[in-house]
């Protein structure tokens, strides 16, 4: 199993507080991974570091077959290299239609002039319709995304990520605020997506993680506490201590 992303020995601190300390983490090219951990474990900071939002103080982040270093690259550059990120709160462009949202995400030229002279081809529109079907929004293409329900916005955002055609997807709490049915659908989308790419899901909800049925990484105080199947890690005394307190 070849490695897509390898994070090794990464640390970052804010005003002396070490949010991430000596974190090492690797993920294969096609893999679904859940990252869990209590509040303040550094889950979001970990995503920030990988996506370039936060700069690591030390350590190595290598990407792809060539092992390109991601440290010091801009968010946009990292995104173009194939890392997509979904925020915790659904962030879609509410003032624009579902179609516009997906078109913006669709893998295409990202440069200013490329965008300026871009006119959607029929192929692009078909792909957008296809993705919209995938996330169950085929009937809502021309609606403003601000009018969608919370769950629909979450799916739209996931759809936008998939339209980006990334090799790695980082997803922050996708199931928050969803009804059980919606969760099920979300699980399906993620599991399907992970067949062709790497997907990392940060989640609090153990039920949801169990449903994903994948390898789990437990973060605590900025480093990996345990790794393995959900049953394996929940059997780990250290994990139990961290979650339940001593």
């Amino acid at each position: 199993m070849s490695t897509l992303l390898e994070v090794s020995g990464v640390s970052v601190s804010f005003d002396g507080f070490r949010a991430i300390s000596n974190l090492s983490f690797r993920i294969a090219k096609t893999e679904l991974r859940a990252v869990i951990g209590p509040n303040g474990a550094g889950k979001t900071t970990f995503m920030d570091i990988v996506t370039g939002k936060t700069r690591a103080d030390e350590g190595r982040i290598s990407w792809g077959d060539e092992g390109t270093s991601l440290r010091g690259l801009s968010e946009a550059r990292i995104a173009r290299m194939g890392i997509g990120r979904k925020f915790q709160k659904p962030t879609v462009f509410e003032d624009q239609t579902v179609q516009e949202n997906l078109l913006m995400a669709l893998k295409n030229k990202r440069g200013v002039f490329g965008v300026l002279f871009y006119r959607p081809s029929d192929r692009d529109l078909d792909r957008v319709a296809e993705w919209a079907g995938e996330i169950g929004l085929a009937d809502h293409l021309l609606r403003k995304s601000g009018e969608l329900s919370h769950g629909q916005k979450q799916w739209l955002e996931i759809g936008m990520l998939l339209a980006q055609d990334p090799r790695l997807l980082l997803i922050d709490e996708p199931a928050a605020g969803m009804t059980p049915q919606e969760r099920e659908k979300t699980t399906d989308i993620l599991v399907k997506a992970a067949r062709t790419r790497a997907v990392v899901v940060v989640e609090h909800d153990m039920d949801f993680v169990r449903r994903l049925n994948c390898k789990v990484t437990v973060l605590h105080e900025g480093s990996v506490l345990a790794e393995g199947s959900l049953d394996h890690v929940t059997a780990n005394q250290a994990v139990v201590d961290v979650y339940l307190g001593r």
Partner: protein, 658 residues
């Protein structure tokens, strides 16, 4: 200085011969002072300022103790001459006639009717000369006040003749302060007038790098120069300051040529204007000097035409450029010291350089004080903003107008409350109250609705600022209103001749410190501060802990605005109070907060200090142009933000938000 001494000397010689003539006619057997008076009888009677000098000198330098009484009587128009024998006496009017007192014996010699006497009436010029001569007697007067007067007079009218009496009076001086003054004056007079060059050099070297203006006033004439030109090489035996080459910045060619003309060594050059006029006079059939008129639209062609005219003998004064250069080369141009002694000028030059260095250092210190006071003004103006913007994250573009409001409150209070001290004491809390209320109103009515919409709160407060400015204009008019500081704030703390700082600025500095302390106290030690910090960090959490965020926001905003009002009173004390004064501070204040680092009072302090010092520093390089200084300051800040986007004292990570 030297010329005057010389002139006096020549004059003295001339008068000396006159005195010698009169001496022969003087009756013998007279007391010493009377002898001198009789010797100079004609001159005294004549009473002319131009010839009386030697007489006064003769009296003053006679070494006779009586001379002082004579001079005093003369100056006070109390000297009378008896018509019968021409002798001089001090006269005192009593019972319609005059009591005469002999100068030498000091005894009354009798009375005389006014008809038998001639009053010697010195004119004001002569009285001044007598006064100067009297100074040396006063130097040793038993009354310290008179001695102090004498020293002050001497310092004002430095003169070679004073050196000897001054030196003579020093050993007997008992008052330590006066002694120091006398010694200093003696040193200065030595530098300027001592006949011995070595003594002058020693005095100059001993002065070190004293900053006194009097020292510089003494040294500067010593290094004064005169620009001169001579044919061939520089003449020997002159104390030359520097040689000059024509065509350099120090001596442009035109100036050098003008010097030659002045010295009669060359004829004046024709200016292009003269040349053009001459050309116009010689237009013949569309040609000048053989050159067609239409071609005369270049300097070269005009020169050529003029040269042609000159060759034909039609015009004169044409000096071709090469010949000009040759003429200039064959002369020497130089600056010559007026002071002939080279060691003295060298020593004076060295001393001035030392002083300039020290003056520079002191100016830097003075500039530092200036910068500090500017920094405290910015800090005062920005501290209210640091609260509303930094702590609460709310942009208040009307902040400058709150400063203006505070200043106008101060002005209104001064109209009502008598006494500047009392009115300022009343104005400060009044300004706080007014702007606090205004701030609370602004928060309740507008800002409250726009939390989380920072750009819109910026715009809305801009609207408020427009309204407030125009309201102030409508109420108080467009002309500046004075806000007068109490008398005890007038004046300045003077360290030396270079370094001084006005009391108002010190007061503002103190005020700034007070506010820093107050801010720290409120934020760290009071319930309001605690609640403010809590609401700032997490409003929902704070609300669930029983804090009323609406109330806290309102009070914090009021506090920030109130401080702006007080800053307005302080600023109004030295700047003009106008409806537009706020606008001048708003950008600077924001810069202060942003440069320092948002959300941190120490950052605001650091920002104010940095901006104050940088601005003063830039002004120092280009003192005439404060507009340019402000321009460069802002450019500097824009560049600074490149390197420290979060300010000098940055909050890192989560707390900084995004």
């Amino acid at each position: 200085m030297k010329i005057r001494v010389l002139a006096a000397l020549v004059l003295g010689l001339a008068c000396g011969s006159v005195a010698a003539q009169t001496a022969r006619t003087a009756p013998d057997g007279l007391e010493p002072v009377q002898t001198i008076l009789q010797e100079n009888r004609l001159l005294i009677e004549q009473g002319s300022r131009t010839t009386i000098g030697p007489v006064i000198d003769a009296l003053a330098n006679s070494g006779l103790p009586q001379a002082q009484a004579v001079l005093q009587a003369w100056q006070a128009k109390d000297m009378w001459q008896r018509k019968s024998d021409g002798l001089f006496f001090a006269g005192q009017k009593a019972d319609g006639s005059y009591t005469l007192t002999d100068f030498d014996s000091g005894e009354t010699v009798g009375r005389a009717d006014k008809n038998a006497l001639d009053q010697i009436k010195p004119n004001s010029g002569i009285r001044a000369l007598i006064g100067a001569a009297l100074v040396q007697f006063q130097l040793s007067d038993p009354d310290p006040a008179l001695r102090a007067d004498a020293v002050a007079t001497m310092a004002r009218r430095a003169d070679a003749s004073m050196l000897a009496p001054l030196r003579a009076s020093i050993p007997g001086e008992t008052d330590p302060a006066l002694l120091a003054q006398k010694k200093r004056l003696e040193a200065l007079l030595t530098m300027a007038f001592d006949p011995d060059d070595a003594a002058r050099v020693a005095a100059i070297d001993a002065a070190g790098s004293d900053l006194g203006l009097d020292l510089r006033a003494t040294l500067n004439p010593l290094v004064a120069t005169r620009r001169a030109v001579s044919a061939g090489a520089v003449p020997e035996g002159l104390n030359i300051a520097r040689q000059l080459t024509p065509g350099t910045d120090a001596l442009p060619r035109a100036e050098a040529w003008a010097m030659l003309v002045q010295a009669g060594l060359a004829a004046p050059l024709k200016t292009p204007h003269d040349r053009n006029a001459a050309l116009e006079q010689h237009i013949e059939k569309g040609k000048v000097g053989g050159v067609p008129l239409v071609q005369l639209n270049s300097e070269a062609k005009r020169d050529q035409a003029y040269a042609n005219l000159a060759a034909a003998g039609l015009v004169t004064g044409y000096v071709p450029a090469e010949e000009q250069a040759r003429t200039l080369e064959s002369h020497s141009f130089y600056d010559e010291y007026l002071e002939p002694s080279a060691p003295v000028t060298e020593a004076a030059q060295a001393a001035l350089t030392r002083i300039a260095l020290k003056v520079g250092a002191n100016q830097a210190l003075d500039l530092g004080l200036d910068a500090l006071s500017l920094a405290s003004i910015y800090f005062l103006a920005a501290i209210g903003l640091a609260i509303t913007f930094g702590v609460m994250g709310v942009i208040n573009m009307a902040h400058g107008e709150f400063i203006m409001m505070g200043a106008y409150t101060g002005y209104v209070v001064q109209q009502v409350v008598p006494g500047h001290t009392l009115s300022i004491i009343v104005a400060i809390p009044a300004a706080f109250a007014v702007t606090f209320m205004a701030g609370v109103a602004l928060e309740r009515l507008i800002i409250r609705h726009l939390y989380q919409r920072p750009l819109e709160s910026l715009l809305a407060t801009f609207g408020v600022s427009i309204v407030l400015q125009q309201l102030a204009k409508n109420i108080f008019g467009t002309q500046a209103r004075p806000l007068t500081a109490p008398a005890w704030l007038d004046g300045a703390w003077v360290v030396n001749d270079v370094v001084s700082i006005s009391f108002i600025r010190i007061a503002i500095f103190v005020l700034a410190l007070l506010f820093l302390a107050l801010f720290l106290f409120i934020m760290k030690r009071t319930r309001l501060g605690l609640e403010t910090r809590a609401v700032t960090q997490n409003p929902r959490m704070a609300a669930s802990m029983g804090i009323n965020p609406a109330r806290v926001n309102m009070l914090t905003f009021g506090l920030g605005s109130g401080i702006a009002g007080i800053a307005g009173v302080a600023i109004g004390l030295f700047a003009k109070v106008t409806s537009e004064m706020g606008g001048g501070y708003i950008v600077q204040s924001f810069m202060t907060v942003v440069v320092g680092g948002v959300g941190n009072i120490w950052g605001t302090l650091a920002g104010a200090v940095m901006i104050g010092f940088t601005q003063k520093g830039i002004e120092w390089f280009n003192p005439s142009n404060t507009l340019a200084a402000q321009t460069y300051m802002i450019v500097f800040i824009i560049i600074f933000i490149q390197f420290k986007p979060r300010g000098i004292i940055a909050l890192k990570g989560r707390a900084a938000g995004d």
